[in-house]
């Protein structure tokens, strides 16, 4: 890194060596790298858990584990993937890219940034520690309610639930600090001349995510705090015997839980136009329309939560309201889809790995949207609720939409971060294996759901055997092919062909004006925006 000519020169890259550098760093690039690394590690941790689940589901009957352990695995898998893999990955992108893209020297609150990251490892340990403790005969394992903590089960369960509640508190504090940092950076640190409507779409997507996090994560924190006091301090928020109401928990949880879906997806929708425009060699189509779509989706996302529990019992007017408001989200979302496709329209397209992932994302995320409309329909939902149809739907949204979107961004910006080109051959192999294995895993789950197989149950009736076997084979191919991803990143960090400042010829944006990798301190003199 020191070999790179330093434009402003007067700042030396002074930081302690070894572990201390990473513990004490306030540099947005270092912190971004730590977030991304943490996310990748937790992605494999969560993946291993679900492979154990899929192995159990390979055949009907109980072969590998007891139902209690199965329940713990599915709940912790979801919590790890959402809070410890996808959200940190998105925050990692924000840390690395937002200052580079808006011409800021660093994040606005660098020390808060360091703290925000270092809260994550303790939280991850809290989430997974009950598994280890159970091995030594302490407690009865991790949270076994699924990631949704539904009362009254979560009021009654073992200490794994307390661990998960505290982990969620810590993860929430970390996310809120990250969000405050991002909002302040975007509002106050833009290069001169960069108006809000010249802001890169990635920053816009993250801005909406940050506001959603600030508005809804405290509600989740409040809900799990009530759960904690119900469990240990004799309150009766959710305990019907004391006049509480378990359904209230569902309202509180999904008031956070539904915006959470968009919290995970908005950063991805933000980075997508950059990639599509770069590999179509055309400017982004419909910038303004996309910005207003982001805002509309952000606003709508907080008023539709009850569609997650239509079957809990609701007056018909409420059902109808939540059905139509949910369906109306598809309108701004369709605007985004049309903008992505219109950007590609008649472009000089090439299909490097990021573009393959972007196109794969559009197709598969489209399936998530369409199956979501089916679930939003009150009449249809009564049949599909809590079935594998739901599982398949949200994995199309969060794996194909979330994780594959993150992979799009990783491949797109990896040359910028490391200064090396990754192996295009391995990247393409990774894409095709992922996309085929993903569909092999989850298409059968749509059929299983339509046929009535309930989710979160370790055993199933014989007629579901074939599709479950196919799904398990797909899941193992999917899991193993992610090793290619990790290897490709590792190899790219270690070496490879030198990346140009503008690593992709069609790429546009301030980050490509800097050398690859950018110097430790960048944009000390703010760029001038035309």
């Amino acid at each position: 890194m020191t070999a790179i000519a330093h434009p402003s020169g007067h700042h030396e890259e002074h930081y302690p060596g070894g572990l201390l550098r990473w513990l004490t760093t306030t540099n947005h690039k270092d912190i971004g790298t730590m977030y991304m690394t943490f996310a990748l590690v937790m992605f494999f941790v969560g993946g291993l858990m679900i492979l154990a689940v899929r192995a159990e589901l390979f055949q009907p009957g109980l072969q590998l584990m007891q139902p209690e352990f199965f329940n713990q695995l599915i709940g912790v898998h979801a919590l790890v993937m959402i809070f410890a893999a996808l959200m940190p990955a998105a925050t990692g992108f924000a840390n690395w890219m937002i200052p580079l893209m808006i011409g800021a020297p660093d994040m606005a609150l660098p020390r808060l940034n360091n703290w925000g990251f270092w809260l994550l490892p303790p939280a991850a340990i809290l989430l997974t520690l009950p598994f280890m403790l159970a091995l030594f005969g302490i407690g009865d394992g991790a949270i076994a309610t699924g990631w949704t903590f539904y009362a009254p089960l979560s009021v009654q369960g073992g200490m794994g639930i307390d661990f998960a509640i505290l982990a969620v508190h810590i993860l929430g504090i970390s996310s809120i600090m990250g969000s405050i940092n991002i909002i302040v950076t975007i509002f106050n640190m833009r290069a001169p001349g960069m108006t809000m409507m010249k802001l890169p779409l990635f920053a816009w997507g993250w801005l909406i995510t940050a506001f959603l996090l600030i508005a809804t994560l405290p509600v989740l924190a409040g809900a799990v705090t009530m759960l904690l006091t119900d469990r240990h301090f004799g309150t009766h928020f959710f305990n019907a015997a004391g006049g509480g109401d378990p359904i209230l928990f569902q309202h509180l949880f999904w008031f956070f839980g539904h915006p959470e879906v968009y919290i995970l997806l908005l950063p991805v929708w933000g980075l997508m136009p950059h990639v599509i425009s770069a590999f179509s060699r055309k400017p982004t189509y419909g910038y303004t329309a996309q910005v207003y779509s982001f805002i509309a989706i952000g606003l709508l996302s907080v008023v539709v939560w009850a569609h997650h529990f239509f079957t809990a019992g609701m007056p018909v007017p409420a059902l109808i309201y939540f059905m139509f408001s949910t369906m109306s989200i598809s309108i701004p979302l369709a605007v985004l889809f049309f903008c992505w496709i219109a950007t590609m329209w008649r472009g000089a397209m090439t299909f490097e790995t990021p573009m393959l992932f972007a196109v794969g994302f559009i197709v598969l995320f489209g399936i998530a949207g369409l199956t979501g409309l089916v679930l939003a329909d009150v009449a249809a939902d009564a049949q599909y609720h809590h079935s594998y149809f739901v599982v398949a739907h949200f994995h199309y949204a969060l794996f194909a939409g979330g994780i594959m979107g993150v992979m799009t961004g990783v491949y797109y910006w990896l040359p910028k971060w490391t200064g090396h080109m990754y192996s295009e051959k391995l990247g393409k192999l990774h894409f095709w294996l992922t996309v085929v294995a993903f569909n092999l895993t989850f298409i059968p789950q749509f059929f299983l759901g339509l046929a009535g197989m309930p989710r979160r149950i370790p055993d199933y009736a014989l007629q579901f055997a074939e599709f479950n076997a196919i799904s398990t084979v797909g899941a193992f191919i999917l899991g193993l092919s992610q090793l290619l991803f990790a290897w490709n990143i590792w190899a790219c960090v270690r070496g490879g062909p030198k990346a140009e400042a503008r690593a992709w010829e069609g790429a546009d944006g301030l980050e490509w004006e800097l050398p690859s990798p950018p110097p430790h301190h960048s944009w000390e003199t703010p760029p001038v925006i035309r």
């Binding site: 009654q156 969000s179 007056p315």
Partner: protein, 201 residues
């Protein structure tokens, strides 16, 4: 950061506002608890009746049973079904003596549940009612109910627990059937029982 003098002032103002938003959202979560209760009561959402246990076990508007009711609607019949569940941790058994009755809106009706203590200890329980469909809940008025207070049964005791109610004539014309359901909870250390269940595993 060279240009930091002005932005740092902006920063702290913005941070304060954002922190206020965080605090507001946290308070909002707790404010939802009473708000939700009010909403349920006003709309019958969730089958909560206006005279439920949550109001402290007493009917909000005490109606004298002797007072003649405004016009009994003889033109239609509503069917009321009774059901009950004993929650885990309460060693009881309950069933309605009649599974359903048909009545005219405005007419007072009395029914009973037979509740037995299966254990060899005195046990106290509390019944929590729920009316379905939710739209019927606000027109379902319990005049006398064993759910208004805690019930203690001696070892092995069986007791008929009475319930008197009126379905108000204002009830929607589209509602022909109402289900009244009770969940009986143990009040004697529900937590201990749960812990014991876990230890027995």
């Amino acid at each position: 950061m060279e240009q930091a003098s002005l932005p740092s002032q902006d920063n702290s103002r913005l941070i304060r506002r954002l922190l206020l938003l965080v605090a507001g959202a946290f308070v909002f979560a707790f404010a939802l608890v009473p708000l939700y209760d009010v909403l349920c009561r006003a709309t019958g959402f969730n089958g909560k009746t206006a005279t439920g246990f949550a109001t402290g076990g007493l009917p909000t508007q005490v109606a004298s049973p002797a007072q003649p009711r405004a016009a009994v609607d003889r033109s239609r019949l509503v069917r009321v079904e009774f059901t009950g569940t004993v929650m885990p941790g309460l060693p009881w058994d309950m069933r309605p003596l009649q599974f359903s009755v048909e009545l005219h809106p405005g007419e007072m009706q009395q029914v009973s549940y037979l509740v037995r203590n299966l254990s060899d200890k005195p046990v106290t329980g509390q019944a929590v009612p729920s009316v379905s469909p939710g739209q019927a809940a606000q027109h379902f008025e319990k005049i006398e109910c064993f759910c208004f207070e805690q019930q203690t049964l001696a070892p092995g005791e069986a007791r008929e627990m009475p319930l008197a109610f009126i379905v108000k004539p204002e009830i929607g014309a589209d509602i022909a059937q109402i289900t009244l359901s009770y969940a009986f909870f143990s009040l004697d250390g529900q937590r201990q029982t749960l812990t014991r269940n876990r230890e027995e595993k």
